[in-house]
């Protein structure tokens, strides 16, 4: 089977960019990452088709010169699925934004609980008072639970400049669609 090197390189780049974007905190970027990954997988399906030939219509030519139709069918199905999921994700992002949460992936509840537990334990053991600049990880320490990411940005000494899209005004009671 011969494949085009350009397509392989493009596919690799799409996979890499997709993974990178998916690791972002903003949900819109996660969606873009998913779209890139989906396109990369579709491209992979097209690559495995091998050397392109004439359109595979029945009786239109010598079957040996035709493209392999099966990967095309698989790719079409995968595109439809990706399309449906993207639409659903967009609705989800909009709803998340509407609820005033910004379009970010929220902290895991268990992680929040663990983090608070360790903060409490540290406080109990250590009276000398560590400075805030020692915050070792991205897990932002806040006193309130359940936390929202909006609050966690206030943590001093922590720089999180990932751009997020926040609703301009707080949600009013009956504003939901």
């Amino acid at each position: 089977m011969t494949v085009s090197l350009v397509l392989v390189i493009v596919m690799g780049a799409l996979f890499a960019c997709g993974v990178y974007a998916m690791l972002e905190r903003s949900l819109t970027r996660v969606l873009i990452g998913f779209l890139l990954l989906g396109n990369a997988a579709n491209l992979l399906l097209l690559i495995v088709m091998g050397r392109p030939g004439i359109a595979p219509f029945f009786g239109s030519g010598d079957p040996a010169e035709m493209s392999d139709p099966l990967p095309q069918a698989l790719t079409l199905t995968a595109i439809v699925i990706t399309f449906a999921i993207s639409a659903f994700m967009l609705a989800l992002i909009y709803r998340s934004w509407q609820l005033g949460q910004a379009d970010t992936v929220m902290d895991d509840e268990e992680d929040v609980a663990l983090r608070e537990r360790s903060v409490q334990a540290e406080d109990a053991m250590d009276d000398e008072g560590t400075s805030d600049g020692d915050a070792p990880t991205d897990f932002v320490g806040v006193d309130t639970a359940p936390i929202t990411v909006l609050h966690s940005r206030d943590f001093p000494g922590l720089r999180d400049d990932a751009p997020t899209d926040t609703p301009r005004r707080p949600r009013s009671g009956g504003g939901d669609a």
């Binding site: 998916m22 399906l45 990967p71 989800l92 609820l99 929220m106």
Partner: protein, 517 residues
């Protein structure tokens, strides 16, 4: 007989279309859903009898030759799982009808719930009877997209928060699966499982290993196998009770089923069984330790769910006909029992207004029926004799002891410890929530204070009336769990025969003959 097979998928899809069109007529939606799933139940029973006594059935949909057409393949394992799933789906449907009738549109937006539920059913059935990898992928996607809708039902803040994690993790696993399919097609020129199995031996070992691992990782995320199980305990507990129940019972099992197909059909003589053993042990132990640390019933159950997936991987990794049979019995037992427990906890939540074992007390006196409905599946899951959990674990350990390597012995010990810890977690919940008196001594309070920081320990919801149909649905499921114990003999024999079939994977010529009109 083979003309019945496509109906397993077509009927729920038609039902979903009808319920979607008549979104405002709830009674019609309910009737269509119940009739559809009951029809699937009947068809699955007929198919199970047919394939158990005869040979597996393979159907080429539309008469297209392999590898262009889609092949549906029903062996005893697939038929049994479709049968059990339809029982679970019907029971949970009745439960949700009661819940929807009592609460109005708030918890379950009626017009969307039934179509999504039927599409979920279609996806599950399609995955079970898929004869080629791409059809399996489509089945997965159908059930996953329906599950995205169900897990974010009502779009409250907490459901969006946990739903996002669930959805993103599922998307990644789907992309991996799709890439694996592309890689397999590139190297073998087919996506039909029987044909893949036939040609796989011609590939170099390292290519085989890459393909094998790609599939295993993709399926392990869906099956919640450690260390890819991190998403499950966070996303399941926030969904509505019936949704959690059906997810816990069925969705992870579809992943386990896909792993079984990979291991028995595509890579029958692989050398990753050792790896699977270690993973199974880690899944069992880590999962159950998570359950012990929790103070909220749904989270406890979610962690035991992860831990008991370990038993199934364990049984699969032993790799004998006996162990396959035991695994199948364990899967059937676990689908039913785990769903029942989640339904019972759904009743607790409505009755007591909380699922935290610190908050709920005195239920034994206040609601003896719920107490019984919780207790029976709880000791069953914990593996006390004479229940089916004990029989399933015993069969697994027997199959392992027959092989008798030191690693097997380690896993048997691990399995027993896991079983005891499961029992500990569930019985502690029983002692605190049901057995404890309303007026509690401060001594007990002090003893359980350390649990107070666990997630969800202080969550309270409003108390609601329990319609009779919810109790009846849960009671029906408890009766099924008891039936699993009473009819364990015949059922285990069916499972052992199904396991026997798995050791002779179907060949391409058999499919051609089976598909002949």
């Amino acid at each position: 007989m083979s003309s019945l097979v496509p109906l397993l998928v077509a009927l729920p899809l038609i039902g979903a279309a009808i319920t979607l069109v008549f979104g405002r007529r709830r009674r019609l939606q309910v009737a269509v859903s119940v009739v559809t799933l009951t029809a699937v139940l009947v068809i699955a029973s007929i198919l199970l009898v047919a394939v158990d006594q005869g040979a597996p059935i393979a159907v080429s949909v539309g008469g297209w030759p392999i590898p262009f057409g889609i092949v549906l393949y029903v062996d005893p394992l697939a038929a049994l799982l479709v049968l059990v799933s339809s029982i679970v789906l019907i029971a949970v449907l009745l439960f949700s009808i009661g819940q929807g009738a009592a609460d109005g549109d708030e918890e379950t937006p009626v017009s969307i719930f039934y179509p999504s539920y039927l599409i979920l059913a279609a996806g599950i059935f399609n995955a079970f009877i898929a004869g080629d990898l791409f059809n399996l992928y489509v089945g997965f996607e159908i059930l996953l997209v329906a599950s995205y809708v169900l897990i974010t039902l009502g779009s409250t803040e907490s459901r969006i928060r946990t739903g996002v994690v669930y959805i993103v993790v599922s998307l990644v696993s789907s992309i991996l699966f799709l890439s694996a399919i592309a890689a397999i097609y590139a190297s073998l020129g087919t996506v039909n499982m029987a044909q893949i199995a036939q040609r796989m031996g011609e590939l170099p070992q390292d290519v085989q290993l890459v393909l094998h691992m790609l599939l295993l990782v993709a399926f392990s995320i869906k099956a919640a196998v450690f260390p890819l199980s991190f998403w499950l305990p966070d996303s399941y507990p926030t969904a509505p009770a019936p949704v959690t129940a059906v997810f816990a019972g069925l969705l992870t099992k579809v992943g386990v089923y896909a792993i079984i197909r990979t291991e028995t059909q595509i890579f029958p003589n692989s050398d990753v069984n050792m790896l699977l053993m270690v993973i199974a042990l880690a899944t069992m132990i880590v999962g159950v330790l998570g359950a012990v640390a929790q103070a909220e019933l749904k989270r406890i159950l979610s962690f035991t769910l992860v831990s008991h997936v370990g038993y199934m991987i364990f049984g699969l990794a032993i790799g004998t006909a006996l162990s396959y049979g035991a695994t199948i019995y364990y899967i059937v037992h676990h689908i039913i029992v785990q769903t029942t427990l989640f339904l019972a906890v759904g009743l607790v939540e409505r009755r007591a207004g909380s699922t935290s074992i610190l908050r709920v007390k005195g239920l034994m006196r206040a609601a003896p029926v719920i107490a019984v409905l919780y207790f029976i599946p709880a000791v069953n899951l914990g593996g006390l004799p004479p229940f089916s959990g004990f029989i399933g674990k015993f069969a697994l350990f027997e199959a392992a002891a027959e092989v008798g390597t030191p690693l097997m012995m380690v896993l048997i010990v691990g399995g027993i410890v896991t079983s005891l810890l499961t029992l500990y977690a569930l019985m502690r919940a029983w002692n605190l929530s049901f057995w404890r008196e309303e007026e509690d001594s401060s001594e007990t309070e002090a003893r359980i204070a350390h649990l107070g920081r666990a997630t969800g320990a202080t969550v309270e919801t409003e108390r609601r009336a329990i319609p009779r149909i919810m109790t009846a649905a849960t009671g029906g499921m408890v009766a099924v769990t008891v039936a699993l114990t009473i009819f364990a003999g015949p059922l285990l024999e069916i499972c052992l025969r199904a396991g026997e079939v798995l050791t002779h994977p179907v060949t391409i010529t058999q499919i051609d003959e089976g598909a002949a009109p």
